[in-house]
């Protein structure tokens, strides 16, 4: 099986909502969350998707 998409990172301000295999970045404010997501998107060549206002994921397509 070829996995085409993968979650490369999870960025959140709500620690209790996330867990699992991907690297998790816990931020303290909304601004930090945006900044982390922007940087990670650029570094990983992925797309930052918003699951909710508190949880962002970086996905490789």
């Amino acid at each position: 099986m070829i996995v085409e998409k993968a979650i490369l990172a999870v960025i959140t301000t709500k620690e209790e909502q996330v867990g699992g295999g991907a690297p998790i970045f816990i931020c303290t404010s909304q601004e930090e969350l945006e900044l982390f997501s922007t940087n990670l998107e650029a570094i990983m060549d992925g797309i930052a998707h918003r699951l909710s206002d508190e949880v962002y994921i970086i996905v490789k397509h």
């Binding site: 922007t38 797309i47 930052a48 918003r50």
Partner: protein, 298 residues
């Protein structure tokens, strides 16, 4: 009949055939084949095809029936042309910002093969006409076959099968929409602003049932995106997958939502470009031709 007139017949055939290839070989906005080497390859192959076609009639008249078997050689040869084109284009496709997609590539490869056969027929008919009627009718037949070859070349374009309308793009939370069609999830505000600034949306309304099946083909959709980004430019670089033009489908009625990021922001021009995208042979479906629906043979 003397060897002289055979030579002339072959000459006429070869010239008409090569001319046909020259005329059907066009480098347009796709820039393929590129000047100059690509053209030389295809002109040479066209010349070979023309020679094979022109030789057939004299060979038959001399009762050299086995000589006709070399036509099978031609078929093998031209199938290789198709393979060659397919391999080259597939290799190059990885380095396109917006890829052509294999359906488009196959379409291009098929037409390269097909045009060689047209060249062969042109040469065949021209030499036949020369032997049967002389040089003048042969010239006329040559010209007619070239015209016929040209008419075989032109397929239909999207303009014939869909209505194209400009539509606003909008965000509902993180979801990007063209009209009411969901395109993708864009998380970052910054990206969303970029997309609202550079993005454009279009809705393609199918004109009938057959068209719904044809435009739902992923290869056809990729061809639209490729052609648009080649002609109008693209606001994207490697490593920015969030800035990817996409086409999604409205499941209810088969309309397509086209989201593009052109450098040239001109809606009328974009409509024209989308309208001129060829309908890919491999994408065409005809559900209405199903015989079991018409009450014919099952």
């Amino acid at each position: 009949m003397g060897i002289e007139s055979y030579l002339n017949a072959i000459l006429f055939g070869v010239v008409a055939g090569t001319l046909a290839r020259l005329i059907t070989l066009r480098s347009d906005y796709r820039q393929y084949p590129t000047y100059l080497h690509g053209r030389i390859i295809h002109l040479s192959l066209g010349f070979i095809a023309a020679s094979l076609g022109a030789l057939a009639i004299p060979a038959l008249l001399e009762l050299e029936f086995t000589a006709v078997t070399f036509l099978t050689l031609a078929a093998t040869q031209f199938r290789d042309v198709r393979n060659m084109e397919r391999n080259t284009l597939t290799e190059l496709d990885q380095f396109e910002l917006v890829s052509r997609g294999s359906t488009y590539i196959e379409g291009i490869a098929i037409s390269f093969e097909g045009r060689n056969y047209l060249v062969m027929f042109t040469a065949f008919l021209t030499s036949l006409a020369y032997i049967a009627w002389g040089w003048f009718p042969s010239t006329v037949v040559g010209m007619l076959s070239i015209i016929a070859a040209l008419s075989f070349m032109s397929g239909s374009t999207l303009r014939d099968i869909v209505e194209i309308e400009e539509s606003a793009i909008s965000f509902d939370g993180a979801g990007l929409y063209v009209d009411n069609i969901y395109i993708m999830n864009i998380g970052l505000e910054e990206r969303q602003e970029e997309i609202l600034k550079y993005g454009m949306g279009f809705i393609l309304k199918p004109k009938n049932m057959n068209v719904i099946a044809t435009i739902s083909n992923l290869g056809q959709r990729q061809a639209i995106l490729h052609d648009v980004s080649v002609t109008l430019g693209i606001y994207k670089d490697s490593g920015t997958p969030a800035l990817t033009p996409l086409i999604k489908r409205d499941l209810d009625d088969g309309r397509l939502g086209v989201f593009i990021l052109p450098l040239v922001h001109d809606a009328e021009l974009a409509k024209k470009v989308i309208g001129s995208v060829p309908v890919l042979e491999n994408a065409i479906k005809m559900p209405s031709e199903a015989t079991f629906l018409k009450g014919g043979k099952k």
